[in-house]
Symmetry: C2
Subunit: 338 residues, 2 copies
């Protein structure tokens, strides 16, 4: 593969001049520029990004470590992150932590070794020493969706409290009184916050959230199934199951179906995180939709701000309730389509 030296030789100039042409430095004669450009063309020369990065100490690359690529929410997040990054002249390397802290660490370490310019993380746990060190060492970093309390890193997330309140209002209006939740891991902020938001909303309606109605999930489908089976085995099963993410909702739907029960007639179901598939499930699932694309874009903008020396602020966008048919219907034609 041709290097800058080959181009210099072919153009009859020094490597410095070639570099200047390539980097649009003003002090180059029209003649030299033309000769360099034809040499570049003739040799099919492309600058070696590795060498450039070593010299400039910039990779123009962002690292994105997400909890689970197979979760459509994170897939969409990853996509919007890459889009915005590309628009700003950065590439993205994605690391999939699979909800496993040690895998998360593996990716963080790998990305750091590659000297990425900044790191976008949706932490799987309460924060490994590695990540805390990186943050403290000044690696530009932004948390997205989930975050680690007590670390001085901007957070870009959706605030679901209002939407959860709307959901509880909806459920209450449908006559439901015994509401249960499948929670995410307590080590994640989204795991604990959603339970708290749910509890607070229930309180507004004079309802409580007994411990037996809080199932411990791990954001994966299998745990949704397991927890739901537990709920169904209770002497007094809940009337509604609210899953703290879309995969657990899917597991719940499975568990209900395996028992030969029907949603929403026998038990209602709602989920946090709306995904395109929820329109097509049987029945379509009522969900709380995050502005996922906007979240990803805002996170990239915040990170690039930090990288390029500007101040970066935390962002909280709001989620909204999308009513479908999985909790029952009060009005004949009530369902939303989005």
């Amino acid at each position: 593969m041709a290097s800058i030296k080959d181009v210099a030789a072919a153009a009859g100039v020094s490597v410095a001049t070639v570099s200047r042409v390539l980097n649009a430095h003003p002090s180059v004669s029209a003649d030299a520029r033309a000769r360099v450009l034809t040499a570049v063309e003739a040799l099919g020369y492309r600058p070696n990004a590795v060498a450039r990065s070593l010299r400039t100490d910039q990779t123009h690359t962002l690292g994105l470590v997400i909890s689970d690529v197979l979760n459509p929410y994170f897939t969409e997040l990853a996509r919007s992150v890459e889009e915005e990054a590309r628009a700003l002249g950065y590439s993205v390397i994605i690391g999939n932590a699979d909800e496993r802290p040690e895998l998360q660490d593996h990716h963080v370490r790998n990305l750091l070794d590659r000297r990425i310019d900044g790191l976008l993380v949706s932490p799987t746990d309460g924060g490994s020493p590695l990540m805390l060190d990186a943050a403290r060492a000044g690696t530009p970093m932004v948390f997205v969706d989930r975050w680690i309390p007590g670390v001085d890193v901007p957070v870009v997330r959706a605030d679901g409290r209002a939407a959860v309140r709307d959901l509880v209002a909806h459920l209450y209006a449908l006559g439901h009184r015994r509401l249960a939740i499948i929670a995410g891991p307590a080590a994640t902020t989204t795991g604990s916050e959603r339970v708290e938001a749910f509890r607070a909303a229930l309180a507004e309606y004079g309802l409580s959230l007994p411990d037996v109605y809080i199932g411990q999930g791990d954001f994966q489908a299998e745990s949704g199934r397991r927890v739901t089976e537990g709920f169904l085995d209770l002497p007094q099963p809940p009337e509604v199951v609210f899953a703290a993410d879309n995969l657990m909702a899917l597991g719940a739907l499975d568990a209900v179906r395996v028992r030969g029960l029907r949603v929403p007639d026998d038990i209602a179901l709602a989920a946090f995180d709306d995904i395109p598939w929820f329109v097509h499930t049987d029945p379509p699932i009522t969900a709380i939709a995050q502005p996922t694309g906007e979240l990803g874009r805002a996170a990239v903008r915040a990170l690039v701000d930090r990288i390029e020396g500007r101040a970066a602020a935390s962002v909280a966008l709001s989620a909204r309730l999308v009513v479908r048919r999985s909790c029952g219907e009060h009005l004949p034609r009530n369902r939303s389509t989005s």
Copy 2:
């Protein structure tokens, strides 16, 4: 960030010795090794992968350019690719082409500039000059799922012909005679091959595939919707719609539902590419399942073989039919669950 020089200084040895310790070179005294290791520990030193890559001309990184990350099939493929690559000591950088040739080129160029060790591609089109040049220039490359004819690059793919034949047998047994297909872009191999396999299977049953029953889609949901509407508007609509990928099947399902029709009673639906969500749709969708994970792993192994100087062969695994309820039922309890 500490460099190898800092470690050398702290350990009281030369950089050469530090490098030898780090690379497990035998000729290092136990004493020197110990001093280096404590210095590494004390400084929290991590080798700079950029510098290392420049020197060794290896990045231990694979590029993966896929057609559409939002398609669960490719998401799963990407995941399995990353897993296998990690097991073999490589990282993966994913580029999402979004079915757009120019975006595909952008990613290929970017990956090449980063001097990735090898490239895994599921081409969006018939092959840009850029990609052909790269292949000709000797960049280790493997095609996965889709490929470009006439290029000397190993292909790892699923052969769906037998499964398509099984599908047609299933449909025929259910009494369906007018079968239509939503094809993918003709520029992709999967786009044209699936139509041909379908046509051949129909022929075995004495059925033909008239042009009006071949809709031109682009592997995205919206095109599935559009084509299906066209089918439904025909004087004699088909009894079955076979979508060449899962997203177009989803669009088709939508189109049917919008008309107030029901699957499978009014029209049957089947899809190429099985995904977890098909179990949960209304009705569960009969699909042809590719061994996606195995495909991704085999592709990585083939690519790494090429990179490390071994011979790499093409691989064709076989897809299989998964019968659910979207085409109707002959036996009371016929549906598979997987």
